[in-house]
């Protein structure tokens, strides 16, 4: 039984928390050294080391491994029990205050004042002074007419807020579990004019919660890429040259080299113009962009990527159909392989504010047949849609160009809980760290119109200023004693 009790105490001990946090930290570090979610074959192919240990210790799937999940479970248990114990402590009846003067005066922020008090009732005067200093009484012990004790507090309830913030971490962990068990994601590719019935998406429910996609469909009207004009910066790479230029006042440090399209273009945005329908009824028209997802029936759609397809006419004949960027192909009477990079097409926003349509064009690359491994293909020219390109007697024309949007979708039942729990956690933790609270222990020892008031102040929180509060307390107590003296004189004069 003592062993069980010891083990029980260890479960909510702060030292256990330190140990568990350290273990979690260790796993996190390992997880940044080995690429998580990767297959062993691809890891080995990429030149990964220590294959034996990686395989048998499951280092590529650390965060879903039983060991890691067990540590997280222990952390959850520790956090829960710790928070529960602290909450129990806060809610339970506290023992009667029994501190003595010597004990109080050992504290760093403590004073003993000898004051004229209106006796009996000196304790009431002290309490009035404490109230004026912003304190409210928590506990009071009347030992005798000559001896009373107060515990008073001022400021935010930081201990309670701290417990609350720890419970919020628990809610976050629950949210992660709900995500792990219930979240589902996938991809859908749409070309302009195509629509997708959301019922056909691979989605699953999580208990009573699930996506509500009956009758909903999504249609792509247009996929657009926006570009902005970009001049290349001409600036030396050599550090000495950079310093030399900086010291050469009177000459420009940098120059810009305007580049023609498509080199002088950078992607500004990807836009999928979508129409959401319920049956035949239009629900909404929306421009889906990166950072502007669309929520439909509880499922969130994101702009993930795009894909292209085109045909290549050789000497006017439809020879190569359904090509895609970077897919290798061969040309008659030419050795090696060819490929066309992603075509640039969309709207270009010029630096002077004008807009220009960009006709689909992309570079043509050639890889020699006997090229060594790792050698890069050579650019042989730029192909523009519907414009013939001459290559060694062959006329190549890009045609039937199509561009589709790749949307990712995700259903996550844990998301709402996570947003709420993390926001509450952040607010509570910030208030706990930056707020302030003062706890005052006060001993009043009275004797015939005089009293020794001893007090000690403990503070919590970043913005706590115990020195200033001590001054304020002392001032409030002395003022109350002076008031008491004046009130007593008034009473004595009235009697006379």
């Amino acid at each position: 039984m003592p062993m069980l009790r010891g083990l029980w105490r260890k479960l909510f001990s702060l030292k256990t928390t330190l140990l568990l946090l350290s273990l979690l930290g260790f796993f996190f570090i390992l997880g940044t050294i080995f690429p998580q979610g990767e297959t062993l074959a691809r890891y080995a192919q990429a030149g990964g080391k220590y294959i034996f240990f990686v395989k048998h210790l499951g280092l590529l799937h650390l965060f879903t491994s039983p060991t890691f999940l067990f540590i997280v479970f222990l952390f959850f248990l520790n956090l829960f029990l710790c928070s529960y114990q602290r909450l129990k402590g806060l809610l339970s009846r506290r023992p009667r205050p029994a501190f003595q003067r010597a004990e109080l005066l050992r504290e760093p922020f403590s004073r003993a004042l000898f004051l004229r008090l209106h006796s009996p009732g000196g304790a009431l005067q002290v309490e009035t002074a404490l109230k004026r200093a912003g304190f409210r009484r928590l506990r009071f012990h009347y030992q005798s007419p000559q001896c009373q004790r107060f515990v008073a507090q001022r400021g935010l309830p930081l201990k309670e807020i701290s417990v609350f913030s720890h419970f919020c971490i628990l809610l976050c962990l629950i949210g992660f579990v709900v995500t792990h068990l219930g979240a589902h994601e996938g991809e859908v590719t749409l070309y302009p004019g195509q629509s997708k019935d959301l019922n056909t998406l691979e989605l699953r429910s999580f208990g009573p919660f699930g996506p509500r996609v009956n009758g909903l469909s999504l249609k792509l009207e247009e996929f657009l890429i926006e570009y902005s004009e970009h001049a290349k910066l001409d600036y030396p790479k050599d550090p000495h040259e950079r310093l030399k230029r900086a010291l050469d006042i009177g000459k420009p440090l940098v120059t810009f080299l305007p580049k023609p399209a498509p080199e002088g273009m950078t992607v500004k945005d990807y836009i999928s113009r979508l129409v959401a329908l319920k049956g035949e009824r239009l629900l909404q028209k929306v421009d889906l962009e990166v950072n502007k997802p669309l929520t439909l029936g509880g499922v969130i759609f994101y702009q993930m990527a795009y894909e292209q397809s085109f045909d290549l006419l050789i000497n006017g004949h439809p020879s190569l159909q359904g090509l895609s960027p970077e897919k290798e192909f061969t040309l008659p009477d030419h050795e090696g392989t060819f490929s066309i990079d992603y075509l640039t097409t969309g709207v270009l926003y010029l630096a002077d504010g004008r807009k220009e349509e960009v006709v689909a064009s992309g570079p043509l690359y050639h890889q020699r047949a006997n090229a060594s491994e790792g050698s890069k293909p050579t650019k042989v020219g730029m192909l523009t849609a519907e414009s013939p390109f001459e290559l060694n007697g062959l006329s190549l024309t890009l045609t039937a160009f199509k561009q589709g949007s790749v949307l990712s979708y995700r259903y996550d039942p844990g998301l709402g809980l996570l947003y709420l729990a993390s926001s509450l956690f952040f607010i509570a933790m910030t208030v706990r760290s930056w707020g302030r609270r003062y706890t005052l222990r006060c001993l009043v020892e009275e004797e015939e119109g005089h009293g020794m008031v001893s007090f000690a102040l403990a503070s919590m929180g970043l913005t706590a200023k115990p020195e200033a509060v001590m001054e304020r307390l002392e001032k409030a107590l002395k003022e109350e004693a002076i008031f008491a003296k004046r009130r007593q004189w008034d009473e004595e004069r009235r009697v006379l």
Binding site: L14, E185, Y235, A246, I249, V254, P258, S422, F426, T430
Partner: protein, 293 residues
């Protein structure tokens, strides 16, 4: 074409001015560092310390102008590229140190580390990185960019200053007789060390916001609030280490040297999160969604 050429000429002028001012900032930080070094050899009277602080202040003011210029040129917050991020990081660290210094006027020792870190960051930017101003890529075009960036960097700056205070205290702990010559008699040493914990108490919520806002932003941009991306995980490691530090302060046996070591470990983790992960990702061939950051 003429209008475009005019725009390019304006860019050349502004960027040249900005880079030259940045070099001047580096010069001031370098001088400040040298004066801090001289202060270590001749702490009394603290003339070298005072001069070092004045130079640091001048450098910070000029650095503010550089950042302001950058913001105007780029028409966005200036912490997209590594060049901009390092400049912002250096500036934040120096400003945080100067702010903390208001309370500890006679203590100059901790300025050395802050100035060194700021100087190294600025030198790396100027000598190695491209100062090119790039438009925001689609993934960065979000309201989160501003707040995630500002508060995360503010937390980094606070941790740099906390680490410098801790290093100073550890150094003088070992040689208490020397400490009083540097404005830190025994009574003040404990209070000065407490400043490190106060700084971490201030910076910890900022780091927490950085992680939470980063997760919310990732959810909006990529559809997943957590991908176990190396940068995300290192920020979590940093958070865990500082959480350990704060919990250690509650345990009497752990609040002294162990807590100090955790503070320094947290600083190293912060550096790893900020710049080390770019290097680690390249070294180990692990792709990171944060590769541009």
């Amino acid at each position: 074409m003429l209008l475009y050429q005019g725009l390019l000429d304006q860019k050349v002028l502004l960027l040249s001015l900005e880079i030259r001012l940045f070099w001047l900032v580096v010069g001031l930080y370098l001088l400040s560092l040298l004066f801090h070094l001289l202060y270590f050899f001749e702490p009394t009277p603290p003339k070298w310390g005072k001069r070092a602080t004045k130079l640091l202040l001048m450098g910070a003011l000029l650095h503010t102008m550089v950042i302001f210029l950058r913001t105007i040129e780029a028409q966005r917050p200036p912490f997209q590229t590594l060049y901009e991020s390092l400049s912002w990081f250096a500036w934040s660290g120096v400003v945080t140190y100067l702010f903390m210094k208001r309370k500890w006027r006679d203590i100059f020792a901790s300025g050395f580390m802050v100035t060194l870190v700021a100087l190294l960051a600025c030198l790396y930017s100027l000598f190695v990185l491209s100062p090119e101003i790039t438009s925001l890529v689609p993934a960065l075009q979000s309201g989160w960019f501003l707040w995630h960036g500002i508060l995360a960097f503010m937390s980094y700056a606070v941790f740099v200053v906390a680490a410098s205070v801790e290093v100073t205290c550890l150094f003088f702990r070992a040689s208490k007789n020397v400490a009083s010559r540097y404005g830190l008699p025994s009574a003040s040493l404990g209070l000065f060390r407490k400043e490190a914990s106060r700084l971490i108490l201030f910076g910890f919520p900022l780091l927490t916001f950085g992680i939470i806002s980063g997760a919310a932003w990732a959810n909006e941009a990529w559809g997943r609030y957590w991908s176990w991306d190396p940068k995300e995980v290192w920020s979590l490691i940093t958070w865990t280490v500082f959480a350990l530090y704060l919990h250690c302060l509650s345990l009497p046996k752990w609040r002294d040297l162990p807590a100090s070591l955790l503070n320094l470990l947290g600083f190293i983790c912060m550096i790893m999160t900020f710049v080390g992960i770019n290097w680690l990702s390249k070294l180990l061939g692990i792709p990171s969604l944060h590769a541009y950051a």
